[in-house]
């Protein structure tokens, strides 16, 4: 280590680092004489260094504001799945918490206390546990113990608190708690057992669910990783997941495969275990297999392709939100040809449904060109065809999209972005203009 690096390291050793980013976006959407201007911002902070400091923290918050709009009575431009601001005049619902021009949300806000004897970490605040098969987002506490080396690196994690359901007005009656253990019984292997209890006050009444899961991972030195997971929900068989991933970097080749089976029809559960039920209703028993591979040739070509198959356990369960399908997808990429830093990719995606409704396919191409690591221009286009069967006659929607995107990074901490999208579907011509600024520190 040279002297400069040592000095830098010494300075950093004494400091309490604060890293993160601030992102702000202005987005203008317009179509058919209606328009809407939104401002979206997010702040993300990492406080301290977990390796050196006893107490560290993390904050992530989001904010959306409407800066103006012009809409027809028919609410032809409803807020989308990425928005938090809803202004539609139809189905206006007074009970919601987001009837405001501006809305802020706290994603995470926690402090970590490290190395308290046998306790490796205590996390307090708004957090997400994502190590378990069903992630838990909650306000509360989490305690992780040190690994017990004499017991195959056994470690325990306990957590509990009030679950976060971003769109619910009240948290009365909601609660979650859980425990999971990790153990590494053999070389390259890890076994996790987890238990969680969730209580959720829903419109239809209170749900109390107990979730059990067993997960086994195995990694081999030669690039193969396996994962098997079995879940139980209350007294029912839940689901089974098997995943295999193989990477051979020298040959520039990799494959991954997965198999998933839902053993029994999934009906209403706590939001944590099935957030879709209130809209999509029952999820009938099915199995789904997926296989994908990628292979590179020289430094210039990369091909990726995959196949997915889903079958319902009973054919008669085929319905609007329970489909059997075959899916094929591929991406072909060309790098640094004919000039350096130019990337061209072609992609295709086909969903072939067994029912009359639901077939759709997309084909698209993108071109990226980077100039001196500071400036990047991207443009692309895609065509999609959706076919479905409402009113007993076949409906087909053609969607053509075009975009151009510029990114400029004059200095390391600052990134500026500008994007324009044009979408021409069978209903309207839609435009989106977006300007971004990101400061990373």
């Amino acid at each position: 280590m040279d002297l400069t690096a040592q000095k830098e390291a010494e300075i950093k050793k004494k400091s309490f680092p604060i890293h993160g980013s601030y992102f702000i976006r202005y987005r203008l959407r317009f179509a058919d004489g209606e328009w809407e201007l939104l401002n979206y911002s997010q702040l993300s902070l990492d406080l301290g260094d977990p390796e050196r400091h006893k107490v560290t923290g993390h904050v992530f918050s989001l904010s959306t504001s409407s800066l103006g709009e012009r809409r027809d009575d028919g609410a032809r431009m409803p807020a989308g799945i990425d928005d938090t601001y809803h202004i539609s005049r139809e189905f206006h619902h007074r009970g919601k918490t987001y009837e405001a021009r501006s809305r802020s949300r706290l994603g995470y806000c926690y402090i970590d206390i490290h190395r308290l004897g046998f306790v490796k970490k205590i996390r307090l605040g708004r957090q997400l546990v994502y190590e378990t098969p069903e992630p838990a987002h909650f306000d509360g506490a989490l305690v992780t113990t040190e690994r017990i080396r004499s017991l195959k690196s056994l470690e325990f994690t306990f957590y509990g608190g009030l679950p976060i359901h971003s769109f619910e007005a009240s948290r009365t009656g909601d609660f979650l708690a859980g425990l999971f253990t990790n153990i590494r019984p053999w070389t390259g292997g890890k076994v996790q057992t987890s238990f969680a209890r969730v209580e959720d006050e829903l419109e239809s009444g209170k749900r109390e669910d107990n979730h059990l899961a067993l997960s086994i991972w195995q990694r081999f030195d030669l690039g193969l990783g396996l994962h098997l997971q079995y879940e139980r929900l209350n007294d029912n068989d839940g689901d089974l997941l098997f995943r295999a991933n193989y990477e051979a970097p020298v040959a520039d080749f990799g494959v991954n495969a997965s198999y998933y089976q839902l053993f029994e029809t999934k009906r209403e559960f706590s939001t944590e275990f099935d957030p879709c039920f209130s809209s999509l209703r029952e999820l009938y028993s099915y199995w789904q297999a997926r296989f994908a591979a990628h292979k590179g040739w020289t430094e210039h070509f990369l091909a990726e392709a995959g196949f997915e198959l889903r079958q319902l356990r009973r054919k008669r369960d085929e319905s609007t939100y329970n489909h059997e399908f075959k899916r094929y997808f591929t991406i072909l990429s060309l790098f640094d040809l004919p000039i350096e830093d130019l990337t061209f990719s072609l992609n295709g995606d086909l969903w072939d449904s067994e029912a009359k409704s639901g077939d759709n396919w997309t084909i698209g191409g993108d071109l990226d060109y980077e100039v001196g690591r500071k400036f990047k221009v991207s443009l692309g286009s895609a065509y999609s065809l959706f076919e479905y069967d409402y009113f007993s006659d076949m409906e087909r929607d053609d969607v053509r999209t075009y975009y151009v995107k510029l990114r400029f990074r004059p200095v390391k901490v600052l990134t500026l972005g500008l994007r324009y999208d044009l979408e021409d579907d069978d209903f309207e011509i839609y435009h989106r203009v977006q300007a971004d600024l990101k400061v990373a520190f």
């Binding site: 280590m1 690096a5 390291a9 890293h19 980013s21 992102f23 979206y40 902070l45 990492d46 050196r52 993390h58 028919g74 609410a75 409803p78 807020a79 989308g80 799945i81 990425d82 809803h86 539609s88 189905f91 619902h93 987001y98 994603g107 690196s153 359901h165 971003s166 769109f167 619910e168 590494r184 070389t187 990694r219 081999f220 193969l224 994962h227 079995y230 068989d237 089974l240 991933n245 970097p249 053993f263 957030p275 879709c276 209130s278 999509l280 209703r281 789904q288 990628h294 590179g296 990369l302 990726e304 319905s319 489909h323 991406i331 990429s333 969903w351 639901g358 759709n360 999609s384 929607d397």
Partner: protein, 342 residues
């Protein structure tokens, strides 16, 4: 009840068989992929250090005075094991450049800056890092000193965890070769792998939590077009709702659908003359319309009631069309009339 129990038994048996098959598959693959003998070197530190009381430097000469570990030469063994040529066949596979080594345990990557002398000089004894080695019966991968071990010790000593302390080339600005092409699309697998084996913390070595969020909260999947936002997402959810749950965890569907009407719901949609009823009825579907209209009863009153007279009393659904056929606008087979016409 019996059928239900049989079904459960069948499911459990299926699981058991699947478990056995997977275990068999796992063991086979493990056996196939592990070169014979490569993962285990039959040398007992327990016998040599604990029982015979030998010092580390007896076999690892100069390990406290030089940067490397002074891996033993075969000749070192022969100073005690004279005439023990019969063991040579067990040892030879582990000889590299005249010294004993086991790649999975003893290899120090070229980029790593490490000095045994420096650590020994700070008064750190061998077993502080090589935990459990003195009582071990063989050299196995469990004895490897991991990056976690280094970081844990450096953290306790309040030493910096900056990359350049231990690496010649790697620093926070350096990207591994895997990040070169198509990485934006492919990084999900690596992240999951990193999550599954948190001991490695591979992503978190360089990336902070805030970096994941700064991208994932501002960039949508490429198929999330305006059409997708307004109509296509229902088709996607019908195909594979688990895919949606990768990002959308809470009750997002309800929150949006309660405040936004589908684009079909314009003009005369919903009026008694509209054909909108066909979307849900004939046959009655508990799905598409039900996303929003769970408890609606208002439109019941809009269908003309069946007259309570002698001609209609006691007539079943299937008989409606025998009289009404020429006048009915409904293109249904006339099997569910009483669902609306009460």
């Amino acid at each position: 009840m019996i059928i239900e129990n049989l079904r459960k038994l069948k499911t459990n048996l299926g699981l058991l068989v699947l478990g056995v098959l997977l275990a068999f598959f796992g063991c086979t693959v493990y056996h196939e992929l592990s070169p014979a003998g490569a993962g285990r070197f039959p040398f007992s530190h327990d016998v040599h250090v604990t029982k015979l009381g030998q010092d580390c430097e007896s076999c690892h000469p100069g390990c406290r005075e030089s940067n490397d570990a002074g891996m033993p030469k075969l000749a070192a063994c022969k100073t005690c094991h004279r005439g023990a040529e019969q063991y040579a066949k067990y040892i030879e596979p582990f000889v590299r450049d005249g010294r004993l080594s086991l790649s999975t345990v003893t290899n120090v990557p070229e980029d790593v800056i490490f000095s045994h002398k420096l650590h020994s000089g700070k008064g750190i004894n061998c077993e502080s890092c090589h935990r459990g080695i003195t009582g071990s019966g063989a050299i196995t991968a469990e004895l490897k000193v991991s990056k976690d071990d280094c970081l844990s010790c450096h953290g306790k000593a309040n030493l910096s965890s900056e990359c350049q302390i231990c690496h010649k080339v790697i620093n926070r600005e350096w990207a591994p070769p895997s990040h070169a092409r198509g990485w934006e699309r492919a990084h999900g697998y690596a992240v999951r792998e990193s999550r599954d084996f948190p001991s490695e913390y591979r992503c978190k070595m360089c990336h902070l939590d805030s970096e994941c969020q700064s991208c994932h909260q501002t960039q949508q999947p490429r198929d999330h077009t305006n059409f997708f936002r307004r109509r296509g997402h229902g088709i996607a959810a019908g195909m594979d709702r688990r895919r949606c749950l990768t990002c959308h965890k809470t009750d997002l569907c309800t929150s949006c659908h309660e405040s936004n009407a589908p684009r079909t719901h314009t003009g005369s949609f919903g009026s008694p003359r509209s054909r909108h009823c066909l979307m849900c009825h004939f046959p009655l579907s508990g799905q598409s319309c039900f996303v929003c209209h769970k408890t609606d009863s208002s439109h019941r009153a809009q269908a003309a009631p069946i007259p309570n007279d002698g001609r209609h009393r006691g007539v079943g659904d299937e008989q409606c069309r025998s009289c009404h056929s020429p006048y009915m606008k409904h293109p249904d087979p006339g099997e569910q009339c009483r669902r609306c016409h009460i």
